[in-house]
């Protein structure tokens, strides 16, 4: 019985770690978004919220936002589909949150004689699981557009559906090269294989083995988050999108889903292309540099370094995604469709063919 309880406790601890990680990072991103845009546009940015005279560079703004969203009126149009209108934001956020489950944030942690893989769910088809969850997330958006009984919202939902389908096909095709190189769909296995060294010094990260795949995945991934430059499903400032009839925290949940999806895309690109939890030259018992130097480290230090490396990589990717978001203007609907179907997809197929050729003949 105690073994079962221990298993349950471990599972619970891992899930709560990931949930807190994703939710907090998502919340923090609202602050990063404001501050980074301010820096890029030579402004000061959010700095007014304060508690007991403490301002902390505007770090209390996410809290102020949450209070504002929760206390606003929760409005529903008269002719809206009552059930679906309520459910849609939850669907959107739920699938964005659970997508993180198979992303490993560290190697195996040994406690006594128990080995704990640092991954919420170890699934043989972990990569496919993430895509399944990402592809289900579109339902929240489409339903929101339909249930609002508003033609502009409906059109926004349609644009979202078209964008998601073209983005997902491009994502699926662009990571085929990665699964070919590492020979697995299990994200833990993929992360382990990225600890190998090329020519004795270069870590075998996906970024170096699949440069084209990385660019394609990142482009399609940004499209899947529905943020600028692919924000025509929302277009809140002028063309009006799927959540036009939402107010209060339900609107907040749609915004949060976008930020969480940004974290998820950062997490996947870390796991697939940036070595996951790998620290260069760090093996299970310490550093082993290519020039022969060895720095032995205790097990706990190694695992902590891995978790830290994963967190830093995800944070850097989030920062990079924000950078793109504040650099590019919005694509028009037809431009984004053309990019997805005539740009990303053929290039992804080309990437698969090239990868196959290299694996076969080199």
């Amino acid at each position: 019985m105690s073994a079962v309880a221990a298993e349950l406790g471990i599972a619970l601890a891992k899930v709560s770690f990931l949930m807190l990680f994703v939710l907090n990072l998502g919340g923090l991103l609202t602050w990063v978004e404001r501050k980074q845009s301010a820096v890029m546009q030579d402004r000061v940015g959010a700095n007014r919220a304060r508690i007991l005279g403490l301002r902390l560079w505007g770090l209390f703004h996410p809290l102020a936002d949450a209070v504002k969203m929760l206390t606003k009126e929760d409005f529903m149009p008269l002719r809206a589909d009552r059930v679906l209108f309520q459910v849609a934001p939850f669907v959107s956020l739920f699938f964005a949150l659970v997508a993180f489950a198979t992303i490993p944030f560290g190697d195996v942690l040994r406690v006594g004689d128990r080995e704990i893989p640092l991954q919420a769910v170890g699934l043989d088809v972990g990569l496919l699981y993430i895509f399944a969850m990402l592809s289900l997330g579109v339902y929240g958006v489409v339903l929101a557009g339909w249930a609002s009984a508003n033609n502009y919202a409906l059109l926004g939902g349609q644009r979202a559906a078209a964008l998601m389908i073209s983005a997902e096909i491009a994502i699926g095709a662009s990571i085929m090269g990665v699964t070919m190189v590492y020979g697995s769909l299990d994200l833990m296995e993929i992360a382990r294989r990225q600890g190998d060294l090329l020519w004795g010094w270069l870590p075998a990260w996906g970024l170096f083995l699949q440069p084209l795949g990385f660019v394609l995945f990142l482009t399609a991934g940004i499209a899947a988050t529905k943020r600028i430059p692919f924000d025509f499903p929302e277009g809140e400032s002028e063309i009006i999108g799927y959540f036009v009839e939402y107010s209060g925290m339900k609107f907040g949940m749609f915004m949060m889903a976008d930020f969480v999806e940004t974290v998820v895309i950062a997490g996947i690109s870390t796991a697939l292309f940036l070595g996951g939890w790998q620290v260069p030259y760090l093996a299970a018992d310490g550093f082993a540099f290519p020039w022969g130097a060895m720095v032995p480290l205790p097990h706990l230090a190694v695992v902590s370094l891995q978790v830290l490396a994963f967190s830093v990589k995800v944070a850097v990717m989030c920062w990079f995604l924000m950078l793109i978001r504040w650099t590019l203007p919005r694509f028009r609907y037809d431009q984004a469709m053309r990019l997805g179907w005539l740009g990303l997809l053929p290039l992804s197929v080309l990437n698969v063919v090239l990868t196959a050729g290299v694996i076969l003949w080199v």
């Binding site: 679906l84 399944a132 289900l136 339902y139």
Partner: protein, 162 residues
């Protein structure tokens, strides 16, 4: 634990299937079908067919049903357009056919579970892939040709319209 999961999932699957048939609103019906497909994917997962479960969700729930919703939202016909119920005759046939199906299921269940052979092979991606490219190569390739034909057909139709 697995039994509890199975019964809960099976219950939701049956309930959503009934909802699909009963609901008048075609969009609600389509959503019940999505729930049903998702539940079937969970059942696959309980049978250790992980690849099949993922493919079920990605392809059926994530892609095909989104297109269904898309079509229903744009082309949803009102009652005035369809005229009288176009399925009148099928409704008459539904009752005896449904009863016959239930009888068949009952007879099969009465005989107890089928004699168990070897435990099912692991359903991971590697195992499925190996089977697809060895034992089931011909059906696999024929399916590919079929899908290609459908793709070309869709292109031709789209071109003619434009």
């Amino acid at each position: 634990m697995e039994q509890v999961t199975f019964f809960v999932t099976a219950l939701i699957a049956v309930a959503s299937a009934i909802g699909l048939v009963v609901r008048r609103n075609p969009l609600h019906g389509a959503l019940f079908l999505v729930v049903n497909l998702f539940c079937v994917a969970v059942l696959y997962l309980l049978l250790r067919a992980e690849f099949l479960a993922a493919a079920q969700v990605i392809i059926y729930a994530g892609a095909i049903m989104v297109l269904f919703l898309f079509a229903i939202m744009i082309l949803i016909p009102g009652r005035a357009e369809t005229g009288r119920d176009p399925f009148r005759r099928q409704r008459l046939a539904a009752l005896p056919l449904g009863a016959a199906f239930l009888l068949l299921v009952g007879v099969l269940m009465w005989g107890g579970p089928p004699p168990g052979g070897a435990p099912p092979p692991p359903g991971g991606a590697a195992a499925v892939g190996r089977l697809l490219f060895t034992d089931y190569l011909l059906p696999f390739e024929i399916t590919a040709v079929l899908l290609l034909a459908a793709l070309v057909g869709a292109l031709v139709l789209a071109r003619r319209r434009a």
